[in-house]
């Protein structure tokens, strides 16, 4: 089933009458999708609906063809993993390995399989050497990576990152970007709620803009970032390189440094 997650005309309100999402429809398939928009646009609410933590007030969400109303949150956890923004709101075990094994054990993996997947996840997040340490003896950025590892170890088909770039340095950002690319290579569906435009431009092949509970743009970075009107509606600034390219009247919307230098050479310098 290619269309793993389908959102059909979904509305949601925490308090009656105050809709956070208004008849929103979208589908998430394998690949890396960035979800952007101002705070309050409904990004996290949408993700909690996908996770089955919230039930839509109207419309339907289907995971693997089945309506989420028929799943419990624990059952959905096997298919869709969510990495929350603040790791300190879930870490409680006294060693990094036990923490990462908690999720897999909860969804019924055998201890052996859970340990094996946990070790693989720790390696992917460069945490193998602190396996026995207490997570709170490490830095906040390290705990954020532990949060990511504890979901990867559950091996879900779809993985949602809620603000993975917060408090990460360059090295951390590159590592998280690599993880997303590897997950894409394994055919997983990756959804990332982001504010870091450069990160979105560099690692995501599809950009979704949310505003006032609805989707106002959905397409490749070059298309979405070129449209100032969409960006203004979503209260989002285009990545630096796009703004640089526009200021120099480059016809092509350049998203990476290589694309920019290529476009500048061919259009401006008439070289090679």
């Amino acid at each position: 089933m290619n269309k793993l997650i389908e959102v059909e005309q979904v509305s949601f309100a925490y308090e009656p009458g105050m809709n956070v999402l208004n008849q929103l429809s979208i589908a998430f398939a394998p690949g890396v999708t960035a979800v952007l928009g101002e705070n309050g646009a409904g990004k996290t609410t949408l993700m909690k609906l996908l996770k089955g933590l919230l039930k839509p007030t109207a419309g339907r969400i289907k995971i693997g063809g089945r309506d989420t109303r028929q799943y419990s949150a624990a059952e959905i956890a096997r298919h869709v993993g969510m990495i929350f923004q603040n790791p300190d709101e879930q870490i409680f075990k006294s060693s990094v390995l036990d923490e990462v094994m908690f999720g897999p054990l909860q969804i019924g993996q055998s201890p052996a399989e859970a340990k094996e997947r946990a070790l693989a996840a720790l390696a992917a997040l460069d945490l193998s050497d602190v396996e026995k340490e207490n997570p709170y003896d490490l830095s906040y950025a390290a705990r954020k990576r532990i949060g990511i590892a504890s979901i990867l170890a559950m091996n879900p088909e779809a993985i949602i990152f809620d603000e993975p770039t917060i408090a990460q340095d360059q090295q951390g950002l590159r590592r998280i970007g690599q993880i997303m690319s590897e997950l894409k290579a394994e055919g997983k569906t990756v959804i990332a709620i982001l504010h870091d435009m450069e990160f979105a431009a560099r690692y995501c092949e599809r950009i979704v803009l949310l505003a006032r509970g609805g989707v106002i743009a959905d397409g490749p970075p070059a298309l979405v970032f070129a449209n100032d009107d969409w960006l203004r509606q979503a209260g989002v600034k285009a990545p630096g390189l796009v703004r640089l390219g526009q200021a120099l009247q480059l016809s092509q919307t350049t998203v990476t440094v290589e694309q920019f230098s290529q476009a500048f050479r061919t259009e401006k310098l008439r070289a090679d």
Binding site: S94, N134, P135, Y136
Partner: protein, 198 residues
């Protein structure tokens, strides 16, 4: 003021509202999970175990003072004494190493329960004529005084029946939580404490 002293005091002072908050959330969680138990003294006993009897005692007293002043019209202020006693007992037991293994922690829980019952009984007698408000305990209390058992003893048994289960479970939970605390935290608190003694 000695340099170390005021640092502990500030560190200790900041810890106390956290301990009271944990008492409150512990009770609420036990409620939402509808567990057949109070669990409203985890914060007090944990602070006594990791930061010593004094911090624990202050947490206990401030806990009852706060809820008396904001929620239950002064009633829990009467029981402030027993919160102090519970914390002191737990703090001393922890210092003597009685929270180093699970069996020891359970024994510590029993001792804390006994201390709690001893200190709460006079308050129960004064306020409620010896009862505690929990159906089973009060029924037993009635039968005991019906057969001429001294009212103080009957009230003590009524309270102990109640406290034993609650405090032993709290002691066990505190044992597991304290076991998993990061070095950075326990050293931070202990170094603040030793700074005072130097």
């Amino acid at each position: 003021m000695a340099k170390g002293a005021f640092r502990l005091t500030t560190l200790g002072i900041v810890m106390i509202p956290v301990a009271v908050g944990i008492n409150f959330i512990g009770k609420q969680l036990a409620n939402t999970l509808n567990l057949p138990i109070w669990l409203d003294s985890i914060g007090t006993i944990l602070s006594a175990v990791i930061a010593g009897p004094w911090i624990g005692a202050i947490s206990g007293f401030v806990n009852n003072l706060f809820f008396g002043l904001t929620m239950d019209g002064g009633l829990s202020i009467w029981y402030g004494i027993s919160s102090i006693a519970i914390a002191m007992a737990a703090g001393v037991l922890a210092a003597l190493g009685w929270f180093r293994s699970l069996p020891k922690a359970i024994v510590a829980g029993i001792i804390v329960a006994i201390v709690s019952a001893i200190v709460s009984t006079p308050i129960n007698v004064l306020l409620w004529g010896g009862q505690t408000g929990k159906a089973w305990g009060d029924l037993l209390f009635g039968m005991l005084i019906g057969n001429g058992v001294n009212i103080w003893l009957a009230s003590f048994i009524d309270e102990l029946l109640l406290d034993l289960f609650d405090k032993v479970v709290v002691a066990a939970l505190v044992y597991f939580i304290a076991l998993g605390l990061p070095k950075r935290l326990t050293q931070g608190i202990r170094s603040a404490e030793t700074a005072v003694r130097k």
